[in-house]
């Protein structure tokens, strides 16, 4: 029996993607070789990489607009220091909306001056600060579009005169935005894009090359861009499987189509959290993430029963992060609404029998 996988990441991917990835590990397209034993310099893999990069730009509506898509290693965590290395000359401005923003700030401080333009740390990051000003001499403004741990999401992407940089690990490809607002957009693959092990960096090329310090090659986006993400051996399996996932999304109708599904799942989930007297949402209503719904069960004595009801219903991965407690239902692109309905049914049943 297939589980209902609400894991926060690595997470559920489309079933057909997982099946096709498994077949490619056995043998890639009748080549007589497994996907994982082919050279990254082979024509087959160069096609895969180019296709993955082209699909990423196409889905974001950025084809032909001066952007490059790079598939790198090291996770979003490596981009915290990489974005600072590539952009920080005078000062970096950061909007602090949670654990990952806080980490990004810490890394950038190794290289230069950092200004925290606003923070919601005062309320355990349960909301998105909206009133703040960015210093006119900032090299960039760094935001986190979705906060996986706290379940908040920036609904209105800020307009800024400086370069806008975003960690969009947990909501990339989930909703339509004007992606041309971003100078750099990065995301670990392991939510909406593919398996853990690769990181997409989308960079508008004109933002690069403006710092005076040396950049370690592996953190230098201009180098990766000039080498088509092949400066060193890329993570072949993760890039291939990301390509399959992006193809799946394109065939489904792209971001516009998936956003409708994601909104329906979020409406169902939050509707129940608000309706059900036993549960309480964590994030401020207007800032609720469509990807990660965080909530608590108020009566401690019901927790064990809820746990076992979820287990019986094959619901997996809804324990909340230790920074928030309670529960977190992650509803990434590949999660079917039927899984959300199953969780909602369990919540209703718990209330009925409480």
């Amino acid at each position: 029996m297939k589980k209902h996988n609400f894991s926060a990441g690595p997470c559920i991917l489309p079933d057909e993607v997982m099946q096709q990835a498994a077949r490619a590990v056995e043998e890639l397209d009748g080549s007589g070789l497994s996907l994982i034993e082919i050279s990254h310099r082979s024509a087959a893999f160069i096609d895969i990489m180019e296709n993955a990069c082209a699909l990423a730009l196409e889905l974001l509506g950025l084809t032909g607009k001066g952007y490059k898509a790079l598939f790198l290693q090291g996770g979003a965590s490596s981009q915290f220091i990489a974005t600072a290395y590539n952009l920080l000359e005078n000062k970096g401005a950061y909007l602090n909306t949670g654990t990952w923003s806080t980490k990004a700030i810490k890394e950038a401080k190794i290289l230069g001056e950092v200004v925290e333009v606003a923070s919601s740390a005062d309320a355990n990051f349960n909301y998105i600060p909206k009133e703040y000003s960015v210093p006119t001499d900032a090299d960039y403004l760094h935001i986190t579009t979705n906060n996986t741990i706290f379940g908040t999401q920036i609904k209105n992407i800020p307009d800024t005169d400086t370069v806008l940089v975003s960690d969009s690990s947990s909501d990339i490809f989930s909703r339509e935005l004007d992606f041309s607002k971003f100078g750099i957009l990065y995301a670990g693959a392991q939510k909406n894009m593919g398996p853990a092990g690769t990181t997409l960096v989308v960079v508008r090329e004109d933002v690069l090359g403006k710092v005076t310090h040396s950049i370690p090659s592996m953190l230098d986006y201009a180098i990766h861009s000039s080498k088509g993400s092949m400066f060193n051996t890329p993570p072949v399996f993760a890039v291939y499987t990301s390509m399959l996932t992006l193809e799946w999304l394109k065939n489904l109708g792209g971001i516009k189509a998936i956003e409708v599904k994601n909104n329906a799942k979020a409406d169902l989930m939050y509707g129940e959290i608000d309706r059900n007297s036993l549960f309480k949402g964590f994030a401020a209503q207007e800032d609720r993430s469509t990807m990660n719904a965080t909530f608590t069960l108020e009566e401690a004595k019901l927790k064990e029963r809820f746990y076992s009801m979820c287990a019986d219903a094959l619901i997996n991965g809804i324990n909340g992060h230790r920074s928030v407690g309670g529960y977190r239902a992650s509803m990434y692109n590949a999660l079917p609404i039927a899984s959300v309905q199953t969780l909602v049914d369990v919540m209703k049943e718990l209330e009925r029998t409480a």
Copy 2:
């Protein structure tokens, strides 16, 4: 028909490993979930990571000797800057034996003073320099045990009073050495260890924590060590498949057993290169790599025929690197001697019919 895969990396892995990895992408051990959709914080994956790390230390004979094994991202290329970040306080000493050493030197120079103790650049890196002295105030000596591109290998690991650091990407787990000589040993997985996408760093913990500068978290081995390689989301598939490959090696009898096989393959290959009047070895005889045999075909008019004979025999991946030209037969742990015999037979047949 299965090809004879001489690719320099990513490269052939044991057939049973590729099959088991494919099955895990379908479903991991009857869990109802694919390997690539499980949380890295799940008990199942924590077991996988701990097992992979323990196997790496066990196979190297380093269990209980103050070492940690880390499975990171970013390839050996990221360790060029990481090793310097972790160790370079006064100066770094480097033995330059090829493309990868040269790149390691370039990265370290971003952070501090570098001394090249010797180089074989004068002869296109076709030998290993043996006479050199290391400055007494060097923080470490960095070597590359095997040079994939040029087909040379350090046979006698130098004794040094400073910390010995090695890029062993292309010969780790292939031959017995006194691994306790190394302070840090690192290797991209994609030769003898697994698929592209993870990098093993074996570090003796007492060499860390001695620099006064800040280290970006993702390049800080002490942080990765304290978090059991889970500071950020690890590359789940690559770690799992590396674990399978290390298990395969252990079941085969470990490094001692594979070294016998590797020597037999190398003897067969170099024996033919030396015997056959049409071919010429590139690397100095005493420094020949057991992993990568580099050689040329002297008569240009025979190249096309050799190419088509190799293709007919399903021989894959023997084109030499552009820095050397000619051919390169990579004979990593998982390559059967039957594949080497097939190549040798083609070389003999070319000579017979030339």
